[in-house]
């Protein structure tokens, strides 16, 4: 009996300790970002890696998401004879939800895993220890540029996603299914508010923090050997994807 209690207690303490360590990690990372954000070149490199090189996959996802939204939305709206609202349906679901979330998930899959693996391998090949021995702050070189870059890059990717998605919806809705193009854009302009766009951008900024945070953290405290890195990469992607979806709910309920 006591043994069981001790087990539960140890497990809880372990989780709490981990959460505390994660929290300290992000606080310290922000502190480093503000005090010594590192060379602009490092940040530029990360923007290119996390942002520019993810844009192809984001554009592809966006295009097909917009197209399938238009297709599904059309048949539902046609039942009520309000095909003219197709633009509203596509643009609002893209701008409010799908844009930020899908962009973040794609970036997690593409760049997040790479971040975790990169930092993890530096850890097991003792490069991080080498930096520390030389009294160089590893956060300044490894974490801060990634954090800054992903906060900056995610809203931009999200904006690209929204625009491409809306045009993908246009392609299917107007060109294939024959919705009036004036209605598609006109209704959209009437219904989309600046608040919708703003909340989408705030969301994707938050997702940027989550991606950089979780992936850097998992890599930084990786286990031993190749197996440790592989586990760190997997957990990084899984944890940040789940956190993105959970956080999305809370942020939506606060912002609206």
């Amino acid at each position: 009996m006591t043994y069981l209690l001790a087990k539960v207690g140890a497990w809880t303490l372990g989780r709490l300790k981990e959460m505390g360590r994660m929290f300290n990690f992000i606080l310290y990372a922000f502190y480093i970002c503000i005090t010594s954000p590192g060379h602009p070149r490092h940040i530029l490199k990360q923007i290119s890696f996390i942002g520019a090189k993810s844009s192809l996959v984001v554009v592809l996802t966006a295009c097909f998401t917009g197209m399938v939204l238009a297709l599904q939305g059309y048949y539902t709206l046609a039942k009520f004879g309000s095909e003219g609202m197709l633009g509203v349906a596509v643009s609002l679901s893209l701008i409010r939800e799908l844009g930020p979330v899908l962009t973040a998930l794609m970036v997690t899959g593409r760049a997040g895993s790479a971040i975790a693996a990169e930092i993890g391998i530096m850890r097991i090949s003792e490069q991080i220890d080498a930096l520390e021995t030389m009294a160089l702050e590893p956060f300044k070189y490894l974490v801060a540029p990634k954090l800054i870059a992903s906060i900056f890059v995610l809203p931009l990717l999200c904006a690209i996603f929204d625009v491409v998605g809306i045009w993908g919806g246009y392609l299917v809705g107007v060109e294939l299914l024959g919705v009036n193009p004036g209605a598609y854009f006109g209704e959209m302009e009437n219904s989309v508010q600046w608040k919708d766009i703003y909340s989408g951008l705030v969301k994707s900024g938050c997702f940027g923090v989550i991606i950089a945070w979780i992936c850097c953290y998992r890599g930084y405290y990786t286990g031993h050997g190749a197996e440790g890195v592989s586990r760190a990469t997997t957990t990084a992607v899984v944890t940040s994807s789940v956190l993105i979806l959970v956080w999305d709910y809370f942020i939506t309920s606060v912002l609206t």
Binding site: L44, K45, I47, S48, G51, A52, S55, F80, S82, S91, I95, V153, P155, L156, L157, A159, I160, D162, V163, M188, E189, N190, S191, V192, Q193, W194, D196, I197, Y198, L201
Partner: protein, 149 residues
């Protein structure tokens, strides 16, 4: 050389991102950075049920502005709506403003019918003649109880 290529890639990406952002906010969000093109007038309605801030204001089907703000009027009895209209649109003093629905379940819009008065409404002026939103339920219940004229 490699340095220049990196800069170019990042520059292109940021440029495309910002263009998309600008497109979204200006075209769809109608973010007005310098609101010098509009002036506001107010109108009191008996009911603006269903009207939202940002709804269109039109004359003869042409969009001439949007609903800026909706509040309660004095004595909390009527709804006071502030309309932001484009500068070039001049309204006569006896203009009639009414809340209308576009289609059967469409958005609520404000329709203005220009009057014949010589005097024009300036910024901060008030439209006196208004028609509130037509409550479909009330209408049906009147019909059911046989009170409709």
């Amino acid at each position: 050389m490699k340095n220049g290529k990196l800069n170019a890639i990042v520059g292109l990406f940021v440029l495309v991102g910002i263009i998309c952002l600008a497109y979204l906010s200006i075209r769809l969000g109608r973010l007005e950075l310098f609101d010098g093109e509009h002036y506001t007038i107010r109108a009191d309605f008996d009911s603006v049920a269903g009207l939202k801030e940002g709804a269109t204001v039109e004359i003869a089907g042409v969009q001439v502005g949007h609903v800026d703000r909706i509040t309660l009027g004095p004595q909390n009895a009527r709804a006071r709506v502030y309309l932001a209209l484009r500068r070039e649109v001049r309204l006569q003093e006896d203009t009639i403003a009414s809340v209308r629905t576009r289609g059967i379940i469409g958005d609520k819009v404000i329709v203005l019918k220009p009057g014949g008065s010589e005097r024009l409404l300036g910024a901060g002026g008030a439209i006196r003649e208004t028609e509130g939103a037509v409550d479909l339920e009330e209408l049906i219940s009147k019909y059911v109880h046989g009170q409709v004229e």
